[in-house]
Amino acid sequence: MMKKLSGARIVIEALIQENVKVIFGYPGGAVLPIYDELFKQNKIRHILVRHEQAAVHAAEGYARSTGKVGVVLVTSGPGATNTVTGLTDAMMDSVPVVCISGQVPTHMIGNDAFQEADIVGITRPCTKHNYLVKEISKLAESIHSAFHIAKNGRPGPVLVDIPKDIQTFETKYGGKKHTKSVTFYKPNTKPSLDTIVKFVNLLEKSKKPIFYVGGGVINSGSRASLYLKKLLKITGYPCTQTLMGLGATPTSDDQFIGMLGMHGTYEANLSMNKSDLMICIGARFDDRITGKVSGFSPKSKKVHLDIDASSFNKSVNVDLLIQGDLSKILEMTLKYIENKRISFSKEKISAWWNQINKWRAKNCLNYKNSRSIIKPQYALQRLDSLTKHLDPFITTEVGQHQMWAAQFLTFNKPKHWMTSGGLGTMGYGLPAAMGVQIAHPKDLVIDVAGEASILMNIQEMSTIKQYRLPVKIFILNNHYMGMVRQWQELLHGNRLSESYMDSLPDFVKLAESFGATGLRVSKPGEMDDLIKEMIKIKGPVICDVVVDPKENCFPMIPSGSTHDQMLLGPNDKLEGEISEEGMVLV
C-alpha cells in the first residue's frame, strides 16, 4: 500500500520527479516543514541566497543558461513579496521559473496574521499563473502543473503558495505519472503548412529582406538556432538580433549586422527602416526596438513567427503571422525549401548588401579612444578579445554598461547572454551570474556591471563566498548612473539630478571582505593585464574598472524618433526639440 506523506515531503518528492537538482531560497517560519524535508535528503541542492529577489534572479540565470526550469523557495510575507521584482523580470523576459512560497496556515489566511501577504493576489499580474494550495489533495497537482505551465508555450514564472498546515497534513502521493495536471494547457505549437508556403513565397520575392531575431529562438531550444543558422545560410539574407536574441545565431557571422533598437547599430536600424520584407522570429516589436511606431519600417511586408498569439499585431501590424514553436516552423520552412528545390539568388539581393555595407562603413560603434583614461567601450573590447575563445557566460546589470556589452561582446552560442531586457532590473546581473555558475561550475562567468547597479544586490557576495562561486564581476565604474545621466544631458538641460554616485565603497576592499579578490585599474595600458589576471584567479573577483565618467552610449535613437533619426555620437545634435510625445516616453 502507498504510504502517506506530509505535504512538505510531497513538495520535495515532486521536485525530484521534475528532475530539479538545485533550488535557490531563503528559509522562514512558514516554510520550516519544507526546509526540514530538504535537510533529510541529498538529491536537491539548496543555495542559500541573501535576499529573495536574488533567489529569483539566480533561478533565472540558471534557467536561461541551461534551458531548464529555475526553482525558488521562500517564506511567506516579506519573503514572498521580495520575489515580486524577480518574478516580473522573468515574466517580461519569458524565463521558466517555479517559485514556491510558504503561507500562513489556511485558517489564518485573511486575518492579517504575522508575515501574511496575499502573494497570489500580488503576483497575479506578474506570473504566468499561480496557485494557492488550500487542500492537501491539490498539492502535487499544483506543483506538477506549475512546471508544465512554466516551460510550455511561451515560458514564464509560476508561483505555488503553500500554507503551513498543508505542509504538515498527510496524503498519498503516487508520483508525477499518477497526478492529474493541467492537461488542457496545450499551446498551439504546430504551424499550418499553407502559412509556411506563403512565408517562403515572400522570402523568394524579397529584394531587401531582413531577419529580425529575438529571444524566442533561444527559448525554443538549440534546434531552433541550428535551423535559423541554416536558413540564413541558404538565403544569404542579413540578420539583426534584439537584446534578448543575442547569440541565437553567432554574432561573429558576416550576415549579422549588429543589434537593433535604441542603441542598435546604424546598419541594423536602417536595414529595418528601408527593408521590403521583415522576418520577425521570436521577438515582440518592443518599444525599444520600434522607436516611433508610425515611422517603423514603413515599406516592408512583415512576417511574424512566434508561439505567443498575444504578441501578434500588438504594437505593429504584420502581414503574415505564423503561430507555433519556432524550431518546428523553421524546420518545416527548411523542408519545404528543400523539397521544392527553391534556391535564393545572391544577385537579387546584391544591391541590398551593397547598401548595407555602405551603412556598415559608417562604423557606428566607433569612439574616440584615449591614452590616459579608460573608455568603457575599450574595456569591453579588450574583455571580448581576451575571453571570447573561452565562450564565457555573460550577465549584466542595467544601464550604459549593459548596452556597451551588447554592442561590443561576441556571442557565438545561445544561452550565454543573460540580461534583464524587458523589465530593466538593476541588480539582476550578480545573482543571475551565481545561478549560471551553479549550473556551469567550470565555465567562465562574468557579470558586466555598473557601480550603481552592482550595489542593488551586493549582499550576494556573501552567497558567492559561501559556495565558492568563481564569478568575475567586471564593474565599469563611471561614478554615475550613466544612462540616467545621459538622458538628463540629452533631455533635461544637463541638470544631473541625483544621478551622481557619491560615497561608493572601495570595491577592492569590499571584495576582500567577502573573501574575493579585488582588482582596480584606471589606465588603459593596464587593461589587458587586469583581464588576464582576472581569468587566472580561481575564485571570485571584483574588477573595479575606473572609466571615463562622461562617456555616453551611441548610437542612440532618442525617444519618440524613428530608425533613420539616430544620433551617432556626441557631436550629433538633436534636430530641434524632442517632441512632447517623445519627452513622456521612457
Binding site: 497570489v120 497575479r124 504566468k128 499563473h129 494557492l132 498575444s310 501578434f312 499585431n313 500588438k314
Partner: protein
C-alpha cells in the same frame, strides 16, 4: 487617423475556481481595457465551469489583443466573440423597486402590465418588479419609470448567446 471603436460581447468559459474572476478583471484593468458589463455564474456543476460574459469596446487591434490575452489565462478553456457570429441574442435582467402612493398605484400597475414586467413583491409602500430584455429595452424602461419614484434598481449585466448552431465549446 483614428480607428473606429466597436462594442464586443465576449463569452468566456472558465474553471470555477477562486481568483478566476480576479484574473480576468485584473487583466482588463492592468492593460487599460474597458469593461462595460460583466456577468458570471457557474454553468456546469459537474465540471466546475463558469461562463463569463464581458462587454468591452475598442479598435480591432485592441479587441484582438484582449482576446489573445484572455485566452492565455490558464483557467480559460474557451472564448468566443459573440458579436462576430452571424446573429446573436443579448439579454439583461433588471430588478426595480418603486415607491408607491395612493394616487400612483393604479397607474404603475397599468404601466407594468403594458411593458410585460413581473411583480415580485408588493406592500403598501413599495413594489418590486422584474423585467428582462435587451440593454436598449432596459434603458428605455428605466427612462419611462423615472416619472415614478425609483427607490433602487439593479441590473444583471448582459448574458448572450449565438443564434442558430453556433455555441461555445466547453
Amino acid at each position: 487617423m483614428t480607428e473606429s471603436h466597436s462594442k464586443h460581447i465576449l463569452s468566456i468559459m472558465v474553471d470555477n475556481e477562486p481568483g478566476v474572476l480576479a484574473r480576468i478583471v485584473g487583466l482588463f484593468s492592468g492593460r487599460g481595457y474597458n469593461i462595460e458589463s460583466l456577468s458570471v455564474s457557474e454553468v456546469d456543476s459537474d465540471r466546475f465551469l463558469s461562463r463569463v460574459t464581458v462587454v468591452t469596446s475598442g479598435t480591432k487591434n485592441i479587441i484582438d489583443q484582449i482576446k489573445a490575452q484572455v485566452r492565455k489565462l490558464i483557467p480559460v478553456h474557451n472564448l468566443i466573440d459573440i458579436t462576430e457570429l452571424k446573429s446573436f441574442i443579448g439579454k439583461e435582467l433588471i430588478l426595480m423597486k418603486l415607491d408607491i402612493k395612493q394616487n400612483t398605484v393604479l397607474k404603475i400597475h397599468k404601466h407594468i402590465k403594458n411593458i410585460g414586467a413581473k411583480i415580485l413583491f408588493e406592500d403598501k409602500t413599495v413594489i418590486i418588479i422584474e423585467f428582462s430584455g435587451t440593454p436598449t429595452e432596459i434603458s428605455s424602461l428605466i427612462k419611462k419609470m423615472k416619472v415614478y419614484n425609483i427607490v433602487e434598481l439593479t441590473r444583471s449585466g448582459l448574458v448572450s448567446m449565438a443564434l442558430g448552431k453556433d455555441y461555445i465549446r466547453r
